[in-house]
């Protein structure tokens, strides 16, 4: 069973969480109507064997969306952050893309 450490609630069973999939593909800005970029973000995946950046929601807990790095072979969770934080960080560093 995955035990995910929610930065707010602590280490919890997987059953409290909902999976949100690949966190590496980011939606383009809504104003960006480029079909290829949207196709890429919505349909295409790196699907790595190893570290995978992904979203989980602490659905039955604080309801935060978390940004998790997890190994897809060992299932070991390497890190967990509130999703809005890396996004914020990215926004200030490289300018907001979406």
């Amino acid at each position: 069973m995955l035990r995910i450490t929610c930065p707010f609630c602590g280490e919890r069973d997987q059953v409290e969480f909902a999976y949100g999939g690949d966190a590496a593909s980011v939606f383009p800005d809504l104003a960006d109507a480029d079909l290829d970029r949207w196709t890429d973000a919505v349909f295409m995946r790196d699907n790595p064997r190893g570290d995978h950046r992904e979203f989980w929601q602490h659905q039955h807990g604080c309801r935060q969306w978390l940004y998790v790095v997890r190994d897809t072979v060992t299932h070991e969770i390497k890190s967990t952050l509130p999703a809005r934080e890396p996004r914020r960080a990215a926004a200030t560093h490289e300018g907001r893309k979406g």
Binding site: D13, C62, Q64
Partner: protein, 199 residues
Amino acid sequence: MPEQRSALASVYKPGRVGVYDGPAQVVLFERANRTLVQVSGWPGSFRELCRKLETLLACRMPEDGLKAISQGQRSIFRVGPERLWVAGPSDDDLLMRFDGAALGEEAVVTEIGHSRTIVRAAGAEARTLLNRGLPIDLDFTAFPVDAFAQSVIHHMPVLVHRVGDSDFDVYVARDYAVSFWEWLTGAARSLGCQISGPE
């Protein structure tokens, strides 16, 4: 205000659950006369909001999502990074007067008093009982008095609050209340359980 009807009204039957010798190891009852208000804010201004609440309620605000602050009849849970639940008796005039005006622009107040049913599980085996469905470590070292956790029991979202050495309050969504009650009393059968009248 008219009286709220308990979601458990149709299934609540004080008395023993199952047959057993000796005293009950768990006592269950509904805490019917409680209410709940949610106050949310934003990262930049949440501290400020908490300070306002502290003045208003004359009590500290919780720092984390692990431990509630209880004072008198009120308990305050930080259910999210910028979100609080304030629980109190249903005639708590302060909670009834909560609104944006009292707390300012940076607060979002949502009345959720009808959305949860609150059940008390008390007694030596209360912890055993809850752990039949609750995936949270209730050991005293990990979950002392006033600790709380939002989690899930048999697919039903719950908030569990330790209110005493062997007393727990469970907040469950109202539409699940009957199923939760059936689960709870079912799981209690092997422990020796008494249902007392609602509080």
